[in-house]
């Protein structure tokens, strides 16, 4: 069985950033640390779990991103992916989700797959769009926000459970090939061992240079959120802050 997993590299959640004066770009300093988008880590882990159950399963990962996104692919190889494809685009942040879906749909058309796994959204741009867009381009069935996944390779079918909210789920059966976008918390992503991390450093990553320039015409303006409240920020030492918080709660009769 062939599983394709699409992953994205994102800046660490607490990374400092700057918004350019014209508001059109978000800049992260050169020492920013990056990681695999956490939703995609769950997708990758789900592929690894399936590969443990189903013999002869081959996992390929692909990403679209700048050269430094290679570290995300190396980590995917270190935890057990077999092949890695890197669509190199230095300006990946301005490529629209639809354009990314088109690139990955072309990738899927030229590589064998029974299941495409992806995260339900990315932590940084949070569009939650790639999976269904990709399925629509490939004309394959799909389901998103999946919290439970069972694959029957003999019947070529997938049984999945989607989360509608924390106490409501729906089951769905899809024939393969299909696309599954997983919800966070479906599993516990593993960590790579040191020996596998070292091995992954030598593994081949297929690089494809993207020459296309973005056709996206939606121009965004970024800004910081506005304060909705007069927040009392405590700026003293730990002890001073504790006393100030106590005073606040005491005067409000909350403590």
């Amino acid at each position: 069985m062939h599983i394709l997993v699409f992953i994205k590299q994102v800046p660490h959640g607490e990374s400092p950033f700057e918004i350019s004066k014209d508001g059109h770009t978000i800049q992260f300093p050169s020492n920013t640390s990056y990681a695999i988008n956490s939703y995609d880590e769950y997708a990758l882990e789900e592929a690894l779990i399936l590969a443990e159950i189903i013999p002869d399963t081959v996992i390929s990962v692909a990403t679209i991103g700048p050269k430094k996104a290679e570290t995300a692919l190396r980590r995917a190889l270190a935890i057990g992916a077999h092949h890695a494809y890197h669509y190199i685009a230095e300006n990946a942040s301005v490529v629209s989700t639809f354009e990314k879906a088109e690139i990955l749909a072309e990738h899927a058309k030229s590589h064998p797959f029974d299941i495409i796994l992806a995260g339900s959204m990315s932590e940084d741009s949070a569009h939650a769009a790639l999976g269904p867009m990709l399925a629509a381009l490939l004309d394959i069935p799909w389901a998103t926000h999946i919290m439970k996944l069972e694959v029957n390779p003999a019947e070529k079918s997938i049984r999945a459970q989607r989360e509608i909210d924390v106490s409501t789920r729906q089951s769905i059966t899809l024939p393969m090939p299909a696309l599954i976008a997983v919800q966070s918390g479906i599993n516990r992503p593993r960590y790579p061992s040191l020996s596998n991390t070292l091995r992954a450093k030598k593994q081949e990553i297929v690089e494809i240079l993207l020459h296309r320039t973005s056709q996206s015409n939606a121009k965004s303006r970024f800004h910081l959120p506005h304060r909705t409240k007069e927040t009392h920020m405590l700026t003293g030492s730990c002890e001073e802050n504790a006393r100030a918080l106590y005073e606040y709660l005491h005067t409000k009769s909350l403590l």
Partner: protein
């Protein structure tokens, strides 16, 4: 002729979800009300009553897309249904809810209809003859303003808009028996499970954990903080539940519970719209986070920039000392 705007009515087994009525409030917004010819579409098998209810409450013309294979939700089936509606209406803009079911079909509809896609919108405004959408990125740290391109499918966060006021006159209902061919997907039943966490609803003080709590060991500090208050409970963000710090039944936010305690401690919670949707009605919010850029500080009454394991024990000890006096 006016351009068309169409609302996708989300429902579970014929019960219309609150977020669909929120979308209807767009049709009453200044500028939008006259600019568009509004309609709404609902797909399913036994949906005539739901369609009539929506038309009556909102005054919007409802197109009910009927087919036996739509008894249960599948992205494939519902997409085909909404494609039928889009072929009939040819909307310049489609509004759907940014929910697991809305997000399952809206991006695919955009692809199939050659429309742009703008998602998880928090605010809609109108200026210079254009619709401006505001959405958030990076867990709420950055806001993004986008002039909606034409044509567009746009998903709106639940809770971002007020529910639509009851209309004076009912809208029409047009039932369409549509042909959607044979589906590959076999959607199953919906299961409702009783989860833990009911005590959150009655708690006066909630101590809530986020990703910033870091490890299960640090939950001890939160339990000590909660024990300072009678009628208190511990909850958590989605991230805290995913990390196993808090049981999913105690999740606060869009896919979890909505709470409105007297006092809410947000411990190591960044403050994504997903989370804020569930706790914005707390009367007082205290945020503790070592990331000074965390958006939770924008809605907090008191903010402390510090690590949970550093600040909380000091605060708990201080309160203990005061109580001993």
């Amino acid at each position: 002729m006016k351009p068309k705007a169409c609302i996708i009515i989300e429902h579970i087994e014929g019960n219309i979800r609150e977020c669909a009525f929120e979308l209807a409030s767009l049709a009453r917004m200044d500028h939008l009300i006259d600019r568009y010819d509004w309609s709404a579409a609902i797909a399913g098998n036994d949906i005539e009553n739901a369609a009539a209810l929506f038309a009556e409450k909102t005054g919007i013309h409802v197109i009910a897309l009927r087919n036996d294979s739509l008894e249960r939700f599948s992205g494939e089936g519902y997409l085909r249904a909404y494609e039928c509606a889009a072929r009939e209406v040819v909307p310049e803009i489609v509004f759907a809810s940014h929910t697991p079911l809305g997000c399952d079909i809206a991006p695919a509809l955009a692809v199939k209809r050659g429309m742009s896609f703008v998602s998880s919108v928090q605010k809609i405004a109108f200026s210079n003859e254009r619709i401006m959408a505001t959405r958030e990125r990076c867990n709420g740290k950055i806001r993004e303003d986008i002039v909606l391109p034409v044509p567009t499918v746009c998903t709106i966060m639940p809770g971002a808009l007020p529910a639509c006021k009851h209309a004076e006159t009912s809208g029409r209902v047009s039932v369409r028996n549509i042909d959607i061919g044979k589906l590959q997907s076999l959607p199953g039943t919906i299961t409702h499970s009783l989860t833990s966490g009911a005590e959150l609803t009655n708690a006066e003080v909630i101590v809530s954990a986020g990703r910033g709590v870091g490890t299960p060991q640090h939950m001890e500090h939160l339990r000590n903080l909660a024990s300072l208050f009678p009628r208190s409970a511990i909850g958590g963000s989605r991230a805290a539940c995913d990390m196993g710090l808090v049981d999913y039944g105690f999740q606060i936010g869009m896919t979890g519970r909505s709470v409105s305690p007297k006092l809410y401690f947000a411990c190591g919670i960044s403050g994504s719209a997903q989370h804020i949707a569930g706790m914005k009605n707390a009367r007082a919010i205290v945020a503790i986070n070592r990331d000074k850029n965390a958006p939770i500080f924008q809605i907090a009454d008191v903010g402390v920039v510090d690590a949970i394991e550093r600040f909380v024990p000091v605060f708990v000890d201080l309160v203990g000392d005061k109580k001993d006096l």
